[in-house]
């Protein structure tokens, strides 16, 4: 049994802007609520407030049933965190504290093997047993077998960075779904998952009796799993009590209703103002009217003090202009190409203007293939070449640009890089405006939301003059509207596009598919193929 109750929550950004105000909703026992909204609207902030990481400026959050949190960065862990540490961090606070105490006592014992150190270690072990640590380790074993196919003892010291994004996500999901916490907060749980992984996630979330609040941009997942939709927009949140199927209609009806209420308020306001003016003139001639004039003034003041109803949230405007340019007829040619240890040799010809969806299981080498075409150093045999005037532009999956973290979008655009000339501030701001990034133009890259980082990467593609777009999961962090804008931009792009995607809806806009099979075979298909099995690798 678990639930989350958010009441009157307000949050202000460090620069003084109010991000969220008067946010109230309840996710009752066993409900599966989706949290949706545009990139940067405050979904992740709201999840952090619900998780207790951030203290709201006003309002309260009450939770019952223990809380399990899966954060957005899971899937892109690149530091030296081990599988063991990762599972500990996902466990309940008491288990985490007991584990840290055991580790600290172990270290102390290694340094000084005396009686107090031994007793402290014994105490920590007893505490570990008391909080259910040994049972937790049994659960972790089930989790690693389910997610990675190996027992806990064999993978606990393995670094998380050696797992693919999908494997990291799956590990976290297995741990949370099998754990004792009754309320799960999942920030984009489907990112980095391949389609069988997404189907598995949909099924598990439908089956679970836990209370789930999740953020996702995958419309198929939203439609299958959510039984209510919490929308963060216009600085507050509202709840659609049904599934995602009727959501678009409910949202536009709500927007119309808001606009109508606002119009009525403004009409009534104008009527009162006119009335006050008329009574003011009449009061000058008639003392009888003076009291009515004062009464009307009071009424207007009260009406204005109550304030107008909130305005309809502005529609997000994202306009991407990927121009490209005419290239040689053969844009990409590969002959007996093989990425070492990942696949069998294959031939490929991609023509100018082709839209090629690169599909297949996690770990089959799709991202490596794109990186190779982008000119990065990837071990391979066989030959490949790009056609005349083909300029590759690469969109990275994990936003793995450590060198960008402390730089601002304007700075990044101003400096440029090989293949992308720098632009002055005025031009940078103009292009950022089209992508809805003006507000964050001077913020460090690390503070941008996943979707904003993704849109900035598309800005860079636009400015680079690329004629071959190599996109690795471009819609993963984009909200539905931005994803639609990207799709329109790709349709208008004069050039060739190769995109790795697990987005079932996005994949339907491509006309050829290159499938990386689990058996190492690479083949073409006219229809999207999503059910390639996971790649079995020795671990």
């Amino acid at each position: 049994m678990g639930s989350v109750d958010v009441s009157g929550v307000r949050h202000t950004l460090p620069d003084g802007r109010v991000l969220l105000d008067d946010v109230s909703f309840r996710v009752g026992d066993g409900a599966r609520a989706a949290l949706v909204g545009e990139n940067g609207a405050g979904k992740t902030t709201l999840l952090r407030i619900v998780a207790g990481d951030l203290v709201p400026e006003a309002g309260t959050v009450s939770r019952s049933g223990g809380l399990g949190v899966m954060r957005q960065f899971i899937g892109s862990v690149r530091d030296d965190t081990t599988v063991q540490r990762f599972l500990v961090d996902l466990a309940a606070p008491a288990v985490r504290a007991a584990w840290d105490a055991v580790e600290a006592a172990e270290l102390a014992l290694m340094e000084t093997d005396d009686e107090p150190a031994q007793l402290a270690y014994a105490d920590a072990l007893a505490q570990w047993g008391d909080v259910g640590g040994y049972d937790t380790e049994v659960t972790w074993d089930t989790v690693t077998v389910a997610a990675l196919g190996v027992p806990y003892d064999r993978c606990k010291y393995r670094e998380l960075s050696t797992l693919s994004g999908g494997e990291q996500k799956r590990l976290a999901l297995e741990a949370l779904l099998r754990g004792p916490e009754q309320v799960l907060l999942l920030d984009e749980p489907d990112n980095y998952l391949d389609v069988p992984g997404k189907r598995w996630l949909e099924q598990r979330l439908r089956e679970t009796r836990k209370t789930v609040l999740f953020v996702s941009h995958d419309r198929e997942l939203l439609a299958t799993v959510a039984d209510r939709v919490v929308t963060v927009e216009g600085g507050t949140a509202w709840v659609h009590g049904g599934g995602f199927a009727g959501y678009a209609e409910a949202r536009s009806a709500r927007h119309e209703r808001m606009a109508e209420l606002r119009r009525r308020w403004e009409e009534e306001h104008q009527r009162l103002v006119d009335l006050v003016r008329t009574l003011q003139q009449q009061a000058a001639n008639s003392p009888d009217m003076a009291s009515r004039y004062r009464a009307m003034q009071t009424r207007l003041a009260k009406f204005e003090a109550d304030g107008p109803p909130p305005e309809k949230p502005p529609e997000q405007e994202v306009s991407m202009r990927l121009r490209g340019g005419r290239t040689g007829v053969r844009a990409v040619v590969a002959e007996q190409l093989e990425l070492s240890g990942l696949m069998r040799p294959f031939d490929l010809e991609v023509w100018y203007g082709d839209r090629v969806g690169v599909l297949g299981a996690n770990g089959a080498g799709k991202s490596h293939f794109l990186r190779l075409l982008a000119g990065q150093d990837v071990a391979h045999s066989g030959a490949w070449r790009l056609g005349a005037r083909v300029v590759p532009g690469f969109f990275a999956q994990t936003h793995a640009h450590p060198e960008w973290l402390d730089r601002t979008p304007v700075d990044l655009l101003w400096h440029g890089e090989p293949g992308r000339p720098g632009v002055d501030r005025g031009r940078a701001m103009a292009v950022l405006r089209r992508y809805g990034l003006t507000a964050v133009a001077d913020q460090p890259f690390r503070t941008l939301s996943g979707g904003q980082q993704a849109r900035l990467q598309v800005v860079m593609l636009e400015l680079s003059g690329a004629t071959l777009l190599l996109l690795d999961e471009p819609t993963d962090n984009l909200d539905v509207l931005s994803a639609e804008a990207l799709e329109e931009a790709l349709a208008a792009f004069d050039g060739t596009v190769l995109a790795v995607t697990h987005d079932r809806w996005f994949a339907r806009s491509f006309d050829r598919f290159l499938v990386f099979g689990a058996d190492g075979r690479v083949y073409e298909s006219v229809e999207p193929v999503f059910d390639e099995a996971r790649v079995a690798r020795a671990r």
Partner: protein, 68 residues
Amino acid sequence: MTLTDDIAHDTAVELAVARLVDEFRPRVRPQVVGTVVRSCRRDLSGVPATALPELVERLARTRLETVA
């Protein structure tokens, strides 16, 4: 059954006593070793069973080294 009887028949205690008697002969008498091990076992009564033999022996060895 009392706690003392429990401890007397504890395998963790028996194994530790056997090993430590050999290790500390002739500096410490076997009876003293037995008493020290049993007192260590009592001090470690909350420790999970799997970790007990190692911790009992280790603590007893530390204490015996100070008296030997």
